[in-house]
Amino acid sequence: MDDMREVVLKYVIQEYLEEGDDDINYDSPLISSGTVDSFSMVSLKRFLENKYKISIPDDKATPEAFDSVNKIVTLVKQYL
């Protein structure tokens, strides 16, 4: 769990944060804060599916389910 949290957090920081953005943690809002927009959420979903060799149904990939690293990890674990 902790390892997955680290992987997801690191990926989000590396791919979606701009240089001057504030630091984020496991509970920081991602979608509702605008850090990750709804279009970019598709690439984040693809990353999770590739990394963990899972398929997340589109109707489960909601802005709410992707709104923090902890929520993403909870979602991913359902499909492992």
Partner: protein
């Protein structure tokens, strides 16, 4: 509450744009400066202490600006730009998130006669570069989170002399050509000599995507105010007592025409939320601000529908009295849903960057036919033209090209540096927006699709040419073709067909790498949501990629004539 718009028939009878000119106190030949009309004039009308802008971000920070604050702060920005040598006619880019500096800075730029060039802050460095280069932009106002994109391209932009960072915190040193400026330092400038722009002086340069070639700069003039003011008053039904929320980003035309110019010119209070999308976050904002008039987009409305009715019920939505939508066709289900959950229908509005203001719409009080765009705004002569003869179609229900008679105040005056493309937008003295529609026997327009390959994703236009060009810059891509793919929420999304160079193999990881490459280079909107690997792309015998064929496959349509096809994979 009585609507600003009486009946459609009453409005079109003896309509003249001078109605708007009189209300604004404007006479032909007068000085006309949007920056002044949106701030100084409202203060002179006795509303200096009225709230103009209520802003909040995702961290819960809130800022409020009265009309006097907007007046003084826009004066400060104008004076600062002048001190840097910026003068009338210079292009000043506004490259910021939805922060107060964007809204007020826009007015400051106009006040000194410079041309405001707003650009979507999620643009990547390549998208930013082509637009700044084409415009010959002299200054850019931005935030420290976006300044790295400017630094990457600065060496290739000799015209760009100043980079103004509005939130510099001193933690990292400023670099070449960068200066720090904060609207929160000092009390603002009380008096500014406003540049005497007139009706035809250039005001705003918005960039829009074309089917071929680079994005086009749509030049608007200060006289656009006449259309924007009256359409906002009659269609959005804005009144002095309203609390207005336009969810559009001023990086796009809705966000400037109806997110800055029109509401400020009408002296209403508007709310802005600089956050990402969340259904409950939006409902909470409406409840907290007591929003009365809400202008949003079908993609957002469909996302709200997806979040379910229960989310709405948690909040008090009773302040809402009028809802409008723009950006892409509003499906009938969304209208029916909004009537059920808010007790109000969304009123569709149709227009585009080039038209500057609403062209076809449902006026308040008019019968809303769910799924229809409504009727032509008073003073707008709109029809559909036969695709082959370019003559107006007289039979109800027959699909043709939407056509508008030129001459309304907010019509674009040119494509920047591109007279050829501008002339190409007209046929038989009609302006052609590039969309197809039919008209029913009551005069209501029914959208039928684009007439070109442009992709409308979430209400934003994406050029397949731009994405294809960027894809070719990825080391693995030999050839690419980009088309629209149907999508339940965004109407359309970008899909790319890609053939790989020798030595590269199709994989999920490569697909993700290419997606992220485009997202960072162009924008999240332009990022292909799906990449399909192909051995080769269908081409005509002359070597032109047949996007039409790929698009038809995605939409389950007839492929049509393939007699010129070189290789049917």
């Amino acid at each position: 509450m009585e609507h600003n718009s009486t009946s459609y028939q009453d409005r079109i009878k003896d309509f003249d744009w001078s109605i708007s000119e009189k209300e604004l106190g404007y006479k032909r030949g007068d000085v006309l400066n949007i920056g002044w009309y949106c701030s100084d004039r409202i203060c002179q009308m006795g509303k200096a202490d009225k709230l103009a802008l209520v802003w909040e971000n995702s961290a819960g920070e809130e800022r409020k600006f009265t009309y006097n604050d907007v007046r003084r702060t826009s004066n400060s920005i104008g004076a600062y730009l002048r001190s840097l040598g910026i003068k009338d006619g210079d292009r000043v880019c506004l490259f910021m998130d939805k922060i107060p500096e964007l809204y007020i800075g826009f007015l400051g730029v106009l006040k000194i006669g410079a041309i405001a060039q707003p650009l979507f802050s999620a643009f990547g460095d390549e998208s930013l570069f082509v637009r700044l280069k084409d415009a010959g932009t002299r200054a850019i106002i931005t935030q420290r989170k976006h300044v790295s994109k400017v630094r990457k391209i600065l060496a290739q932009l000799p015209s760009l002399e100043r980079i103004i960072v509005v939130d510099h915190d001193g933690k990292k040193p400023l670099q070449e050509k960068e200066v720090a400026f904060s609207i929160y330092d000092g009390k603002g400038v009380e008096s500014l000599d406003i540049f005497p722009t007139t009706a035809e002086s250039p005001s705003v340069l918005h960039y829009t995507s074309g089917t071929t070639g680079q994005p086009k700069g749509v030049k608007h003039v200060h006289y656009s105010l006449i259309s924007q003011y009256l359409t906002a008053k009659w269609v959005l039904d804005l009144k002095d007592s309203d609390i207005y929320w336009c969810t559009a980003d001023p990086g796009w035309v809705t966000g400037t025409s109806y997110g800055i110019i029109a509401p400020f010119a009408l002296g209403v209070t508007q709310c802005v939320q600089d956050v990402g999308f969340s259904a409950e976050g939006w409902y909470k904002f409406i409840e907290k601000c007591k929003v009365t008039v809400w202008y949003s987009a079908p993609t957002a409305i469909r996302s709200l529908m997806k979040a379910g009715d229960e989310a709405v019920k948690k909040y008090n939505m009773s302040s809402l009295r009028h809802l409008c939508s723009v950006g892409e066709p509003l499906n009938s289900e969304a209208v029916i849903w909004s009537e059920r959950v808010f007790g109000l229908p969304f009123h569709d509005t149709y227009w585009q960057t080039e038209t500057g203001s609403i062209m076809i719409t449902n006026l308040p009080g008019m019968k809303v036919k769910p799924g229809s765009m409504g009727r032509a705004f008073p003073g707008i002569t709109a029809t559909v033209l036969d695709i082959h003869t370019s003559e107006p179609i007289t039979s109800p229900g027959k699909v043709g090209l939407i056509a508008i008679k030129p001459g309304w105040p907010s019509m674009m005056r040119a494509y920047w540096n591109n007279e050829h493309a501008y002339k190409g937008k007209f046929k038989n003295n009609w302006y052609l927006p590039g969309d197809r529609s039919s008209i029913d026997s009551d005069g209501y327009f029914w959208f039928a699709g684009r007439d070109d390959d442009i992709i409308n994703t979430g209400g934003h236009l994406v050029s397949p040419f731009e994405v294809e060009s960027a894809l070719l810059e990825h080391e693995s891509v030999a050839e690419s073709a980009v088309v629209a793919k149907p999508d339940q929420i965004n109407m359309e999304v970008v899909k790319a067909f890609v053939s790989l160079k020798p030595g590269f193999n199709p994989s999920g990881d490569l697909e993700l790498e290419i997606m992220n490459f485009i997202r960072k280079k162009l924008s999240p909107l332009a990022m292909p949501q799906e990449i399909e690997y192909v051995k080769s792309l269908p081409k005509t015998r002359s070597g032109k990629i047949m996007r039409r064929l790929l698009r038809a496959k995605e939409w389950g349509q007839e492929i049509g004539d393939t007699s010129t096809l070189e290789d049917d994979e």
